[in-house]
Symmetry: C2
Subunit: 438 residues, 2 copies
């Protein structure tokens, strides 16, 4: 064959070598296991949907980023998140689902934005949402952080803080200032608090036409400090006579109470009145999650409550609450920061090695025994010297090697070597399996 | 909001309700677990690749089916199989991989063909391949059926037969008839043997210009019958003086021997000299797998050995062998034929139910205990009557309900009901966990 095509992939797409893929999968599996432990049902929507269905709501930035194309007579798009497909799914199957409907989906989504550090065009989102019929209990506002708590504890990537807030508090507060018609603008500005700081935020508010006195009130409101309980007490002490505000504070207090019943350690969460979340559809509790030692990573798990998820598809009122972990981005950041490392180079627990190919059948039988005992296992097949065989085992970092030579073949045994301690014992395959299971 | 968009998906795309999705996932997990048990490494290539890279080889039917589109300056395509991305990956990373490189990938692929019964435009392929450096031992020709054997035994969908053949036997046989320049044509015709039968196949061969005497030899050759050993003996008795033929028979005999060492029961495989596999790149052992009781399903797992996988990307010789399970199609066929059924409506083992919302905190604490014991668990949150709560539990078909009422709250216990037997006992949460684990 004459010309070769250079093998390569597009920038902004993640593809891993096996050790990194093993590590990625172990994180994926941890998240999935915890989602399932909380009773979330699996969902797998199509990657490709009809553009008119998928883009019923989208606009602006989102629309520009979408991978959209025609095939035959169809105008198609790749999903750009898992929330719109969920809304479509729930509206489409509302008669067949039991509510509250709790589902998880952990799939790739696609956004054709300009690739930059830590941004991907194709990435995994790991979402859970609970959808209620007409209403949805506040219990679920506490269940979201409970799941986050369990997931991130098990991911073992250091201390983290779940920050929560309630949009009603913010909206009610602005109502009390007669700034209701400015709420969306102000929330957008407040959202930048962490990035630009108090003074710049105040200046920006004023430049947007907020009276100085109100800008000061806003500033003192969102900088209320202390523990969750202290913040709730401070909010109540403000004496703001606004129904929405009071409802928000009341909800927040209840959610914090439930969170403790869910077993979330107080050290792992707090109220953060500056959190509004950019998206317009959040209407109640909102969350962000930060790794305490790596604030630069930003929020690693966010979400909130929304009242109008399926509004574009149905008149039925189906409120929901959900969170999302952007796993591809999180993984790549954790790896780059050295918080995780890809030490495991193989899923195999034992490599069975024949001294020469005459021992191959005995090796295959030993391997079969190990696999039947649920021990992942591989057999070395190349006709090379023992040194090279052990080098291969070292390269894959397998915990054990089971060697079969003349003596072992004769006695029906294996020489089992613990690759970490260097210890070697000649035992039957059954004994070897027992040793490895310990 | 005024107009509603009808929520719907495209024809030819599979989307499941939760019970079916749970069943699908359990099959997916079974396949993955077995792939990993045999030492295959995970791989996850991008869904979107550069068209010129992905289509370096493709042409004809494949090219027409591809979802191809432009974004910015890039000409992009969705992957249409997992083999081309593997070839690209191995060529791209050959310096970083340990050979033999064993990888599995279980991902969606995309083919925009006209949808018909049992055909999908977006479907999961579950592939394993072993890629060697320069050469690859015959051990792996036996490992493929060993994995198939373990997967399909565990899937528990009835008796199956792995059919194997070796393309060298066919090619050598045709060489001996001086029909080498016709091999590809003849193999294509032979491939139809199962569908059209002996006489039509003979007629077709003759109409293609094969002399009658040779057509008869071909027919008697491919209808050799008996067990695997008997067929190998018959092939040897033919006395065909052709090196390729003899090599093929020798390989087949060795592979059968290794398959027995791998523990494959003779009742689950046989040689099938009619199998050629349509694809042009298979060069040695080839496989198909049929469910004995459901021949209409066709082959549920196929593959084979190829010498030139990465030829479009590199001069390095990287031979390989692989098999593929088309899970989406298999699942939909099994479900339609009633071979599998979606009985499990939830992943939850126990639903914790408060008699009224005052008991909610106690319920959350019980649920937390169960989850810490790795028991998937959910809490009923709606303010409804007990009858409706039990109806919900029945609808989700949860195995256990843990009820907390006044007495249980006072005594720190739960009333644990086995939903199958109807048996109910009042026990501590720790005791309840023990009962459910049994």
């Amino acid at each position: 064959m004459a010309e070769k095509m250079t093998p390569r992939i597009l920038p902004g797409f993640m593809e891993l070598l096996p050790p990194e893929q093993i590590l990625f999968n172990s994180m994926y599996d941890t998240i999935r296991r915890n989602y399932e432990k909380f009773g979330f049902l699996p969902l797998d929507t199509p990657t490709i949907e009809l553009s008119e269905v998928l883009l019923a709501k989208a606009g602006g930035e989102t629309e520009k980023q979408i991978y959209r194309f025609e095939k035959g007579d169809n105008d198609l798009s790749l999903r750009f998140d898992l929330t719109v497909p969920l809304a479509r799914y729930v509206a489409q199957h509302s008669q067949e689902l039991a509510f509250p409907f709790k589902r998880y989906q952990m799939s790739k989504v696609f956004r054709g934005e300009r690739p930059q550090k830590g941004r991907f065009r194709e990435f995994y989102q790991c979402d859970i949402d609970v959808i209620g019929d007409e209403k949805l209990d506040l219990i679920y506002d506490a269940e979201m952080p409970a799941v986050i708590y369990n997931v991130f504890r098990e991911l073992n990537i250091g201390k983290f803080t779940i920050k929560l807030n309630n949009r009603k508090i913010l909206s009610g507060f602005f109502e009390s200032l007669n700034l209701s018609d400015r709420v969306t603008d102000i929330l957008r500005t407040i959202d930048k608090f962490d990035k630009i700081g108090a003074q710049k935020m105040r200046a920006e508010l004023i430049s947007e036409g907020i009276p100085e006195a109100d800008a000061d009130k806003i500033l003192s409101f969102i900088t209320i400090s202390g523990s969750a309980d202290e913040k709730i007490a401070s909010l109540n002490r403000l004496g703001i006579d606004n129904a929405l505000f009071c409802e928000g504070v009341d909800e927040l207090a209840k959610v914090v109470g439930y969170m403790r019943s869910y077993g979330i350690d107080d050290a792992y969460f707090n109220i953060e009145l500056t959190i509004a979340r950019g998206l317009d559809y959040y209407t109640g509790t909102v969350y962000e999650t930060n790794l305490d030692d790596y604030p630069a990573l930003g929020s690693v798990c966010s979400g909130g409550r929304y009242d109008n998820l399926t509004a574009y598809y149905t008149d039925r009122k189906l409120p929901g609450i959900g969170i999302s972990i952007g796993l591809t981005r999180l993984f790549s950041q954790l790896l780059a920061a050295g918080i995780i490392s890809a030490d495991k180079k193989s899923l195999v627990k034992v490599l069975v090695v024949p001294t020469d190919l005459e021992k191959m059948n005995a090796c295959l039988k030993a391997a079969r025994f190990f696999r039947n005992e649920d021990i992942p296992c591989d057999v070395y097949s190349l006709d090379k010297g023992l040194k090279q065989k052990m080098k291969y085992a070292g390269r894959l970092a397998v915990p054990f090697v089971a060697l079969i030579g003349d003596d072992e073949l004769r006695d029906g045994k294996v020489a089992l070597k613990n690759m970490q301690s260097g210890e070697q014992t000649v035992v039957t395959v059954a004994e070897a399996a027992e040793i490895m299971k310990k």
